[in-house]
């Protein structure tokens, strides 16, 4: 069964909306911000790709946003953009499922909450802060604002989160449980991740054990959201092509079975010990690209790769890859310039912690 992508909503360091992502792919650039983290050893500066959610005001009343933190705002905006892109914002959507993936959850809010509970003389926390810290809070706001009463799933499995969300979306459509699924992912920058990056790349602390060998200027922390409105093939047009297959497994125990005639978008973002192992698993001389230089390093980065693959399907063009030390092996054909997609399918591959892998394949 093929699943069509009816609409896409994205935001991140590259901007807001599928048009901004397309522009970033053409220019090969996103703009990062310098985040200052105060430590007992002095201030440190960490670059990050941050997302701006100002456009949310065009979809949601200001009053409805007053208790909503940045993490949830990113998720909401991603959803509204995807529905707008599919021209389904005000249409009768029938029975729609909602699936949201996150690697970390609402971390800024959670750390504030944790700090207040652990360090205050009397244990205290704000009820709003607490309810917003629950991992399905973003899905809750989305269901309330969209008035959607269908199945609603939140998943959190670090760097496999978005692949597992697509797996469930695929299942729900296959079972005819729903007519469409709004599936996507969100993660936010926080100072602990900033400090983590600082330790990996600036101090050498832990680098030998864990860090990918990405150049400093490439391993930039990202935040943002990516959402997709999916439907069964026979019920919709497919401007962005189809989700052909969703696979998960463990490459330490079983070899990954990957197609020959494909372009591979690799989720090597500089934060995984597996970053150097992609070349071992991909067919020799396969065409590869990676785009974390546009959206940054975050657990749900594969969602952006899926969005880029969908854009490639729509335009018939594979966009030029960012540079990456993982290409040095010479086994792979790196896509250095925009080129014709031809008849190739695109496999968005992520190698993750513990040998896990996820692969979402798109065709057109």
């Amino acid at each position: 069964m093929k699943i069509s992508i009816k609409g896409i909503g994205v935001l991140g360091g590259f901007g807001c909306g599928i048009g901004d992502l397309n522009n970033a792919l053409i220019t090969g650039k996103s703009s990062s911000s310098a985040m200052i983290i105060k430590t007992t050893g002095g201030d440190i500066e960490v670059p990050a790709f941050l997302a701006n959610t100002d456009r949310l005001k065009s979809f949601v009343n200001k009053r409805d946003l007053r208790r909503i933190d940045h993490y949830i705002r990113m998720a909401l905006l991603g959803c509204f953009l995807a529905l707008e892109d599919a021209d389904m914002l005000h249409a009768n959507r029938g029975k729609m499922g909602i699936i949201i993936a996150t690697g970390y959850g609402s971390t800024c809010n959670t750390f504030d909450l944790q700090h207040s509970v652990i360090t205050e003389a009397a244990p205290f926390c704000s009820p709003i802060q607490f309810s917003n810290s629950v991992h399905n809070a973003a899905a809750t706001y989305i269901s309330i604002l969209l008035k959607e009463v269908g199945p609603n799933l939140s998943v959190s499995h670090y760097d496999m989160s978005i692949t597992s969300a697509f797996l469930s979306a695929y299942q729900w459509l296959q079972e005819e449980r729903v007519e469409s699924v709004l599936v996507g992912s969100v993660d936010e920058y926080n100072k602990i991740l900033g400090y983590f990056r600082h330790c990996l790349y600036n101090t050498g602390n832990g680098k030998a054990d864990f860090a990918g060998k990405m150049n400093l200027e490439h391993a930039i922390i990202g935040e943002g959201a990516n959402f997709f409105l999916l439907a069964r093939e026979n019920e919709a047009d497919s401007p962005y092509g189809f989700i052909e297959d969703v696979r998960m497994g463990n490459f330490k125990h079983r070899r990954i079975n990957l197609p020959e005639n494909a372009a591979f978008f690799l989720g090597a973002d500089g934060y995984s010990e597996c970053d150097e192992q992609y070349a071992e698993h991909i067919p020799e001389k396969a065409f590869v690209a990676s785009y974390p230089h546009l959206y940054g390093g975050l657990p749900v980065g594969t969602g952006f790769d899926i969005a880029i693959a969908a854009l490639s399907n729509k335009s018939g063009t594979v966009f030029k890859s960012g540079d990456s030390p993982i290409y040095n092996s010479g086994r792979l054909n790196v896509i250095r310039h925009n080129e014709d997609l031809g008849s190739r399918r695109i496999c968005c591959l992520k190698l993750g912690a513990g040998g896990s892998y996820g692969c979402v394949s798109l065709n057109h």
Binding site: G41, P123, N136, T140, V149, Y158, E175, M248, H253
Partner: protein, 397 residues
């Protein structure tokens, strides 16, 4: 939704304050015991009673995965019991397509308190520990699982949803075996958080009672081994039961309050009944969510009265506390055990009917039941409603 094929439950493991294995838990329930007390496993100045696992339950010599969070230890312990209950050994995980689908709340939160030891310079160790302390990952790593992994974070319905989703992995053929369930530890953030919502009872909870005043939190895990028809045929013993159907729907109403008209719960029940091909007359009993909060119990009793008139129901929260992400799986385990024994436990804490509720009351003493199918339901923050239809092991593939 069309009716779906039953999915066999080869084995079950369960750990909570009621017992360290499922049989112990059931004995505890039928004796009408409960032991809520202020928490001892974490520091707090609050004294609301909780249901903790007080024993030193984790047998580290049995596991490779040792340096993991308590939530993972609970899950690993329940998984080992489930594998043993199924009569499997670890070799099956090397030769079959095995997945894992586990529900949790605490297991996925950036909740390690050592993050906060120095808010300005967080240690790197807790970051690493977070990355590798996901309960599904712990199970996958411990047992060498090669198939799909999913960690469900649907608040209190996570365990139920994980079971329903895992069953569809079996039906669609992407897995031969799925390790599925829920797990959560008692933790001071959730403990304090529930206090902030003013839904903690400062005495043992009283589900469905007129004097109910909130919930007590608990901890635990339950894990099911779900198998395909092919594996079921190869098994040397009958499965413990089947997942016949699953339904889920959302209130689209409020973050922490139950929708007064029960629309989401009704939709979830409808889907579960349709997929299982059952009618209310087939249902021997209902294992209700029954937290002891004013809103939940009122809405739930109204929906059950409307949709299942005369069907006996009960809540086990009075024995275990509300185990959050584990609750759905633990209660599904209890449901299968009750079907096997033909007996359901009294709804401890209920003595006086609430005149606001319809004239349908939970069972007040241990009762025999007729039939081999039951419904287990969970309601959750975010308006999630999740329903499983379960049966004992009479189906022959």
């Amino acid at each position: 939704m069309k009716p779906v094929e039953p999915v066999a439950i080869a084995g079950i493991g369960c750990i909570c304050s009621a017992g360290l294995v499922l049989n112990e838990c059931m004995d505890f329930l039928y004796k009408g015991k409960r032991n809520p007390a202020p928490p001892v496993n974490f520091p707090t100045k609050l004294t609301f009673p909780v249901f903790e696992v007080l024993e030193d339950f984790f047998q580290s010599s049995l596991f490779e995965e040792k340096n993991v969070l308590r939530t993972c230890k609970l899950a690993l312990t329940a998984t080992l019991e489930a594998i043993s209950d199924a009569g499997f050994d670890r070799e099956i995980f090397k030769t079959k397509r095995v997945g894992a689908c586990i529900g949790t709340n605490v297991g996925c939160s950036m909740h390690d308190e050592s993050f906060s030891n120095d808010s300005n310079t967080p240690f790197i160790t807790p970051v690493y520990r977070f990355l590798f302390s996901n309960p599904t990952s712990s199970i996958a790593s411990e047992f060498g699982i090669t198939g799909p992994l999913q960690t469900v974070v649907n608040a209190c319905s996570s365990g139920n949803d994980a079971l329903g989703l895992a069953a569809s992995w079996i039906r669609s053929g992407i897995c031969d075996v799925v390790i599925a369930g829920g797990t959560d530890e008692m933790y001071q953030i959730t403990y304090t958080g529930f206090k902030s919502l003013l839904i903690n009872d400062d005495s043992p909870c009283k589900p469905f009672d007129v004097n109910r005043n909130g919930l007590n939190l608990g901890e635990g895990a339950a894990v099911f081994i779900l198998v395909s028809e092919e594996i079921e045929k190869e098994m040397k013993k009958n499965p413990r039961g089947y997942i016949l159907g699953y339904g889920a729907a959302t209130d689209a109403f409020h973050h922490t309050k139950t929708r007064p008209d029960g629309k989401g719960l009704k939709l979830a029940i409808d889907e579960a009944m349709e997929t299982s091909g059952t009618t209310p007359l087939d249902i021997a009993f209902i294992n209700a969510h029954g937290t002891g909060t004013l809103d939940n119990d009122l809405v739930e009793s109204r929906v059950l009265y409307e949709m299942f008139p005369g069907v006996p129901f009960f809540s086990t929260k009075g024995y275990t506390g509300h185990t959050l992400g584990a609750a759905g799986a633990i209660e599904a385990a209890f449901t299968i055990a009750c079907l096997e024994k033909g007996r359901i436990p009294a709804n401890v804490g209920f003595t006086t009917a609430d005149p606001e509720m319809p004239p349908a009351y939970p069972v007040q003493q241990n009762s025999t039941i007729n039939g081999n199918k039951a419904l287990s339901e969970t309601l959750a923050f975010g308006g999630n409603n999740s329903v499983l239809i379960l049966s004992t092991g009479e189906h022959q593939p």
